[in-house]
Amino acid sequence: MTYSATRTRILRGLTLAAAVLFVIGLYLALFWVGPEKEQGAAQRIFYVHLGSFLGAFIAFAATVVGGIAYLRTRDPKWDIFGLANVEIGLGMSAITIVTGMTWARPIWNTWWTWDPRLTSITIMWLAYAAYLMLRSGIEDPERRRRFAAVYGIVAFASVLFTIIIIRVRPDTIHPVVAGPTQADPTGGFDVTGRIRDTLFFNLFSFAVLTVVLIWYRIRLENLSQYVMRRKLEVLSEL
């Protein structure tokens, strides 16, 4: 399990950058930006909410890329890439759901409502949880990689559904920040000033954080497969 020194240095650098960016992002969200006019301090969680969703989106989109690359090249490294992305994506979307619920309690006066947006992100989460179930259900490693690649591509339909649904359905109460909606079909970006700056900074910091986490997860998986191989070697020598 050796990696080139440059790559490891880049990874360390990115890790440090992610940590620093994350702390600055939180500082901006919690202290620098003023409380929002209507929602007050509760709105501050929105930066983490949208940031983690961006992270989940990056990870799930990368799963599709990994799936296609695996089916084309049959290189197991793309399968590890897909698995790492799904796991990080699941974590990130769990953060999105939990922060959303925390925000909804004071704003909507309920933890949960069967709004199209909330329903669709739950479906998305379940689809990727099913990906892990599928992996654990197939024994043959080559077949497991192949099926996981296919399922990772199919499951992305649920991500698209999550993004599209609030833009085509008028009956959602979930706010839309960017892009066209039923009320405003031309689209737009309706945050300005410090809120916008804070938002962009947090989106960036979450993107970096996601990439770093995926990278570590890939290395972890490589390591665990290496340990498995070594174990088999040792056992066969006995």
Binding site: R143, V150, A155, A157, I164
Partner: protein, 256 residues
Amino acid sequence: MTVSPEPTTSPAPTDAVSARPAATTRARARQRLTPFWRAVAAIAWKDLRAEIRSRELVNSMVLFTFMTVMVFSLALELDKEARQTTVAGVLWVTVVFAGMIGLSRSLAAEKDRGSLDALLLAPIDRSALFFGKMIGNLLFVLVIALVLQVLLTVLFNVTLIRPLLVLVVLLGSVGFTAAGTLLSSMAVHARAREALLPIILMPVVLPVLISAVRASTAILEGLPRDDWFPWIQLLAVADVIFLAAGYGLFDYVVEE
């Protein structure tokens, strides 16, 4: 899509035929490849004929449908108003669960009998196999949906046999069976296949299910066009996505 005289062969280099000299085999296979839609029709017809003779699947699906409707009407204690708003949900949940029985049998039976290998060896395009299997499954699901529409109309006194609703049923069933055929062909290889299929299939088809239920309810309540048309659009989009996914990815699922 048209009948192509020379459909592309499976793109995967590691095919079952690789034991023999690959180039000549492939050249010969290409010559004898059955036209795409004839292969599709043959597979669908084979499934249909087997089912007409044995009737084991449709019988169990129809009986299951009856029982589910019973369970729903007992569990929900539907009064007149509740029926109007929940009948679409009852319809679709029953279609999905009954359809799942058919889907899990469709490829599992082929695998258990060993006829899956024969199908894979046949000189046909692999995606023809997908569409053939899918059309077979679709017909079973449509039979169930039709039986249900009559049954619910009679038992719940809500007229479900309307042209628009038939359209929604058709679109919803296409999406469900397209995703279902693709995923059930993966689930047959799993350790606990009957348990795995619902887990991997449900989240994928839930968007179809939600759109179908919303569209059906809006149509049944006689709401204006704006209330149900977006859902039908969404259904059509989902159908196209799942059909394309099945067409493109089935090759990779069944190769061996």
